[in-house]
């Protein structure tokens, strides 16, 4: 009897240990590349292979375009930083449980890290408080030597709670250093496949429209409220759907008329037949990347200065996967990390893996750009966000 007991116990304990260790383990390809020597970013114009603007299931060969990137001029400091990362095991803390876009993007990024730095990267899932737990720990207890990175959903795990002055926030988003972000995309209005609305005029004539949304503080909820206001629609918000899939189903079965989401989602759900094949309008200042013929909302209405600020609060709160470091990491290490990010995201194999998951490859946002966006968001007065909340309450009938 006891031999079976012993065997069971050994099996359970060993698999438990493996399970404990496994989420941290990231596939580490055999590294043959030598460490890349990189300098702090001195802006220079260089010709590089850039990610294609839009790629469907099979990515097209990457076109060669001219971009502005940091110039890789080796300096003694840069060599030191490269050596630091060559010997270092960097930790990528993911703000959510395994599974989902942030986790997947981080694991894929980590698998390319050795190729471009010579070092190793492990992924650790640190879920809690809708992503706040990880951001808080980055601010309070993460090492400042550049060996700890964070990955989160830009909107819900970092910027949103900070802007809304959530009492749980223990960080200042302006103090983090941003490495870059992926999966950034434009938003549009998806209309249920069977709903009789094909033009802006149809929407304006309709009475009692219902637009679904995720939680109250979601960026898409803000965008929907802005849409209703700018177009002057007779519409209300139905808040509380658990995810995009639930919204698609609700739109498909006519429970709601539509919802605001990223254009890759609209394409995917349109192909399945739950929503119309293309968004009715982009809630953007530009036309779609994937749907180039779909007009931007600013082509329909000329926003007043007040509306421009409203639009800003919506546009700056997009969903994307952002990588960042704790405060006080030295500038040369931040520069190295940003360069590594740029190289990884320009790699065709990386693009392929991201394309497979997201449906299209959306060019990444650089760390410097992210820092600017955060600074711009931080400059918007709190009263403005309160006004958006009031607007949401008004349309949700709260």
């Amino acid at each position: 009897m006891y031999k079976w007991m012993a065997a069971l116990i050994v099996l359970v304990l060993s698999v438990s240990l493996a399970a404990c260790a496994a989420p941290k383990a990231t596939p580490a390809p055999t590294v043959t590349a030598t460490a890349t020597v990189t300098a702090p970013p001195t802006t220079a114009t260089a010709t590089v292979t850039a990610p294609p603007t839009t790629v469907t299931a099979t990515p097209a060969p990457a076109p060669t375009v001219t971009l502005t990137v940091p110039a890789p001029t080796p300096t003694p400091t840069a060599v030191g930083v490269a050596d630091f990362y060559k010997d270092k095991r960097v930790t990528m803390g993911v703000a959510y449980a395994p599974g989902g876009g942030v986790d997947y993007s981080s694991r894929v990024f980590a698998s390319f890290w050795p190729t471009f730095t010579g070092g190793a990267m492990v992924v650790e899932n640190k879920p809690g408080a809708g992503g706040l737990a990880m951001a808080n720990s980055m601010a309070s207890s993460a090492k400042r030597d550049g060996s700890e990175l964070g990955a989160t959903s830009y909107r819900s795990g970092l910027a949103g709670p900070w802007l809304m002055q959530d009492p749980g926030v223990q960080y200042d988003a302006l103090k983090f250093s941003y490495i870059g972000s992926v999966a950034n995309e434009l938003s549009g209005l998806a209309i249920g496949a069977g709903r009789p609305y094909n033009t802006i005029a149809d929407l304006r004539q309709a009475k009692g429209l219902k637009f679904g949304s995720l939680e109250k503080s979601a960026g898409s909820t803000v965008a929907t409220a802005v849409l209703i206001k700018l177009l002057g629609l007779d519409a209300r918000l139905v808040i509380g759907y658990a995810g995009t899939a639930e919204l698609s189903l609700a739109a498909g079965r006519g429970e709601i008329d539509g919802y605001v989401t990223g254009e890759t989602t609209i394409k995917a759900e349109g192909d399945k037949g739950y929503v119309k094949k293309a968004p009715l309008v982009m809630i953007e200042r530009q036309r779609g990347t994937l749907f180039k013929d779909v007009i931007a909302i600013t082509e329909v209405v000329k926003p007043s200065p007040e509306d421009e600020i409203l639009l800003d609060t919506s546009l700056l709160q997009k969903v994307r996967v952002i990588f960042f470091t704790p405060p006080e990491v030295s500038q040369d290490k931040v520069a190295f990390l940003r360069t590594a990010f740029d190289k990884v995201t320009a790699d065709s194999a990386f693009m392929t893996m991201m394309t497979r998951y997201y449906g299209i490859y959306v060019p990444p946002v650089t760390g410097a750009e992210e820092a600017k966006i955060i600074a711009r968001l931080g400059s918007i007065p709190k009263a403005q966000f309160d006004a958006v909340t009031k607007l949401i309450d008004q349309y949700a009938g709260q």
Partner: protein, 498 residues
Amino acid sequence: MEAWLQALQNYTDLAFVGWVLAGGIGGLIFGIIPGISGMTLVVLFLPFVLDMKPEYALGFITATAGASMTGGSVTAILLNVPGTTVNAATLLDGYPMTKKGQAGRALGAAVTASALGGILAVFLAFAMVPLILPMVMAMRSADMVFLILMGLTFIGVLGTGAMIKGLISGGVGLLISFIGYQSITGMQRFTFGSTYLYDGLPIMPVILGLFALPEVIDLAAKGGTIAQTRAVIKGMTQVIEGAKDVFRHWGLWFRSTVIGYIIGVIPGIGAATSIWVAYGQAKQISKHPEKFGTGTVEGVIAPESSNNATQAGALLTTVALGIPGSAEHAVVLGAFLILGVTAGPTLMMQHLDLPLTLFFAIIAGNLIGGILCFWTAQHLAKIGNVPSRILVPLVTVMVLAGAFVMREQFNDVIVTLIFGALGFGMRRLGFNAPALLVGYVLGSLFEQYWFIAIQVSGPTFFMRPISLGIIAVTVLVLTSGPIRSLVQQLFKKGAKGT
């Protein structure tokens, strides 16, 4: 026909069979370990699938999902520690059976009901492929409210007496479910400024604390073995007896499987609801409801056939509609995307061979999980006879590690300990821990759909044929027991009169 042949042909490919086998065994092992499930294995597997043949990767994933829940019942029955959250209802009668020295029988029944439930669900799916889309599209948020309410109403019948204490326990569970971020109002509730509570209390530590720790305390205090009757376990006799029980109660097994399947194909609800609906109807319709909770095999068959069927149903919704059948299946859908396969109606219409291959993989996963568990059950059942001095420290470590491993947060261990104390107190004072769990698990789901239904259709949102139908079925199931007793009394009186 060509698609069927193509699907079956995949099973002549040894590499494919190897991946399905690996998935089945992996899912079973990950299902047995408290705190993680087969989906954990799927997540860890995702970054490696890019260069694989879609059939291999998806065969592995679906077999993993198919076998995971079968494994979860093992520790629920033997140690009062559910391997996965959807094995929670199995605790109610599975562990008391172990105490009675009938662990082998309980395992035999659970494994057989699970595996056959999962397999029947696939055949239901084959038959219902043309109906899935209209069925899912017909269900609105209002209908979800009453489906979840059906699970909640069974709070009142879960206990073995003391209805008021059962309702109080369920009410406390509902209150606990309201902790955290309320997505509709955008408010944090009952968090007391702690970010740990922002996401609400994590389910696995709550279950482990509420059920496993009080049992460990009892076992440590009493000494001896779990099995209070030291049954002589000879070979497969007990296990086979358990399997036969499933066939003896084939009506219950069939009903619970169909309930599991239907709830599984409806996105957004999942096995958390189906196990309680299956258990509740089993008790209400049973000729001897008073035996439920004391170690009756029907209380094992109902939730176990239901949870595997739910899993299969949810997986089929994911494949056939491209809509994740449950939160876990979002990961499976992610795997489809990575492999360049667009799940959904188009796949069903244009490449039916792949969905059929995967349906067969679910059957394979259930068979692998079932056969392995069945084969080892006679030995596993002997755990009931292991002295407490060996078992108590091992189970304590297993419970606390299980609470920690899911999110690697020490606070989860503290929650387990707190709920352990609560569970122990409730047991001593005669309150009802399962009712608390049902309230906790279904409370937030109920609230979510309730608010959406109100926003969409106003206060008369229930005036829909499907909602009214579900309400009628709930009332019928709840009143069937009392009505039957009333009729029997009337007949007795009539007989005496004549």
